[in-house]
């Protein structure tokens, strides 16, 4: 097993006018390829802030971040965009799909920015949709799909570019418990196929699906348990 993510002493300070707020106060952990990690903690403890840094959407104020062996802490916006495109897949609480766009085109989007040919895009998007169990819904517009189905489209979109890690910030936050279980079962089966997943959640039963739980409090890790 190789190390996919390695954070060491990550700090994130938000500056609002003359006020400062340190949302992450020296966070260090590493994640091996093939792990399924749940990040937990009270509201405001810094989970999303940490996920944004992991997702290369934000940069730490200080500290080192190695993603798949690459030091990304000092990359510029365009380099980060490329890293997000090639190494990461995102699943959001609010799905964040393009409205009035067929499911398959949503899934193709990362490949569009990767510059893949339209034929390759279509083939891989169809395969990803099949992987999440959405055969037959490929050409439905996202607004015609249920919440659970929309989240599956989002997961297919996260999968389609073979990322090193899938990052999910409260993926079941907008779903009922039955649908949550379906999505978690999907995550589990994807993880069994070798995909690394990091997921933020508030709910203990959702976190129970993960093989490792990291708990935050006030910008620090207070617990990290496996099994």
């Amino acid at each position: 097993m190789s190390t996919v993510i390695s954070l060491s002493d990550i700090r994130r300070v938000f500056i609002m006018g003359d006020q400062q707020f340190e949302a992450l106060k020296g966070v260090s952990f590493s994640i091996e390829s093939g792990e399924f990690v749940a990040i937990m903690g009270a509201s405001g403890s810094g989970k999303s802030t940490c996920m944004n840094i992991l997702g290369c959407l934000d940069r730490p104020t200080s500290g080192d971040y190695l993603l798949d062996g690459l030091g990304v802490a000092n990359m510029n916006q365009d380099q980060l965009a490329e890293i997000r495109n090639r190494k990461l897949g995102f699943v959001f609480q609010g799905f964040n799909l393009l409205a009035r766009t067929p499911a398959v085109e949503n899934v193709e989007l990362p490949l569009v920015y990767a510059g893949r040919s339209s034929r390759e895009r279509r083939a891989r998007a169809m395969a990803a949709l099949e992987q999440v169990g959405l055969q037959g819904k490929e050409y439905n517009h996202t607004s015609q799909l249920s919440g659970g189905q929309q989240q599956r489209v989002a997961i297919a979109r996260a999968l389609v570019n073979d990322p090193a890690v899938i990052l999910a910030d409260e993926p079941t936050g907008n779903l009922d418990s039955t649908t949550s279980d379906e999505i978690m079962n999907l995550f589990t089966s994807l993880n069994r196929q070798g995909i690394t997943i990091i997921m933020v959640t508030h709910e203990a039963d959702v976190a129970a699906y993960a093989g490792r739980r990291i708990t935050f409090r006030d910008g620090r890790i207070i617990d990290d348990t496996r099994g």
């Binding site: 944004n52 965009a81 495109n85 964040n96 009035r100 766009t101 920015y113 990767a114 510059g115 979109r157």
Partner: protein
């Protein structure tokens, strides 16, 4: 990301809001249509003017009796009878830059054929005049030297006169009466159309100059002429010819330095220059109107694009999160803006061209829709899109992905 994809995304975005896209384009459509239509009508007008000027003949100098400078109690130009046929002969013989010259007389008279009659202009002219003015006959023959010398009672009819006196019949060989004197029609002239002053040049009867002087004029100076029309050997020699004529006539009329000459010359290239200048002023005006309407249209585009960027903040965030670079976003919104203005421009070109055709049909006014003006309009509308689309597109590309994703 390849351009085709960017293009498709932009097209879809425009299609999602069809009505809004159309209303946004309207400014550009109207601006471009106005420009195309006005350019078409304007160049139609200058075509007509240049045709009329060409109808006078090329490299022409007009010499008329009297002075154009109104000094003291002098009569207006053409008021005195100082130019004679001898002056014409002298100009032809002694001015090397002159190719041809003809004296002319001019009077208004009733022309009668059978029980038909028509009031028209009767001009006396030497055979050279028809070469100078490049004015051939369509039937019969033109006035020749022997008609001149003999003072023959023959005449040429302009198209308007022929139609009014003879209807559909062939006038050649028929007899008409001018001031009760019978004249034989020897030919009918080609249609010439309007002069730059707007008079019908075909409403004229020509008789040999000598005949006009001797038989039709009641003047006590039968040798005098109303005007002299001179053709220079070339355009380059036009000014030189004018100078030679002035010097010769000054000498012949004993005009010493300081005295005002009893004739004046007019160079037709001056008239051309004036026409050119007014068409330049016209296109300057058109350019101003075009710029203003396109700026107004462009501001409309910028306004709507800014609204669109705000509305689609979350979409921009999604695209950025999954790998769109700043340039991809910039290009996407620029493409949208340029597509808006180009489509608007194309519609405007069609409407403008259609409008110009309708105007030319209804007003019977020629319009010229040049490829040039269409190309300029097309690229100009594209440029408006680039210029006014840049700021909104840069705003979109500058968004922070986290904030954009969180935007409600």
């Amino acid at each position: 990301m390849d351009f085709l994809q960017t293009f498709k995304i932009a097209l879809r975005a425009l299609r999602t809001n069809k009505m809004r896209s159309f209303l946004t384009m309207l400014g550009i459509i109207i601006g471009i249509a106005a420009v195309i239509a006005m350019m078409a009508v304007g160049s139609g007008a200058s075509y007509v003017i240049s045709q009329q000027i060409a109808s006078i003949g090329s490299n022409i100098i007009l010499v008329i009796p009297g002075s154009t400078t109104s000094g003291g109690l002098r009569m207006g130009s053409g008021g005195s009878q100082t130019l004679t046929s001898d002056d014409v002969r002298a100009v032809m013989a002694e001015c090397p830059s002159v190719l041809r010259a003809s004296g002319t007389t001019r009077s208004t008279s009733q022309v009668v054929y059978g029980n038909m009659n028509w009031s028209t202009i009767v001009m006396g002219a030497a055979p050279e005049l028809f070469d100078i003015r490049e004015w051939p006959v369509v039937s019969g023959r033109s006035i020749g030297q022997q008609d001149m010398e003999g003072g023959a009672k023959v005449c040429l009819l302009g198209q308007t006169v022929a139609e009014n006196l003879f209807g559909g019949d062939d006038p050649v060989g028929k007899m008409v009466r001018i001031k009760k004197i019978p004249f034989t029609v020897i030919g009918v002239l080609e249609r010439k159309g309007q002069s730059p002053q707007g008079t019908d040049q075909d409403d004229t009867v020509f008789v040999p100059l000598r005949t006009a002087q001797v038989k039709l004029s009641r003047s006590s100076f039968p040798n005098s002429i109303g005007a002299m029309i001179v053709q220079a050997r070339s355009e380059q020699l036009l000014d030189k010819a004018e100078e030679e004529i002035k010097n010769l006539l000054n000498q012949r009329h004993r005009i010493t330095a300081g005295k005002e000459p009893d004739f004046s010359t007019r160079n037709l290239s001056e008239i051309l220059a004036v026409a050119e200048q007014s068409s330049k002023a016209m296109s300057l005006l058109l350019g101003a109107v075009a710029s203003i309407s396109l700026i107004v249209g462009g501001i409309g585009i910028m306004n709507i694009m800014l609204v669109s960027v705000t509305e689609r903040t979350r979409e921009i965030g999604i695209r950025m999160a999954i790998g769109a670079r700043r340039n991809d976003i910039l290009l996407q919104f620029m493409t949208e803006a340029v597509l808006l203005t180009l489509i608007g421009g194309l519609i405007g070109i069609c409407l403008g061209a259609g409008g110009a055709l309708i105007v030319s049909h209804i007003l019977e006014w020629p319009t010229l829709i040049s490829i040039e003006s269409i190309t300029i309009a097309f690229f100009f509308s594209g440029a408006v899109g680039i210029f006014f689309g840049f700021y909104p597109a840069r705003k979109a590309a500058g968004l922070n992905p986290i904030d954009a994703l969180r935007y409600e």
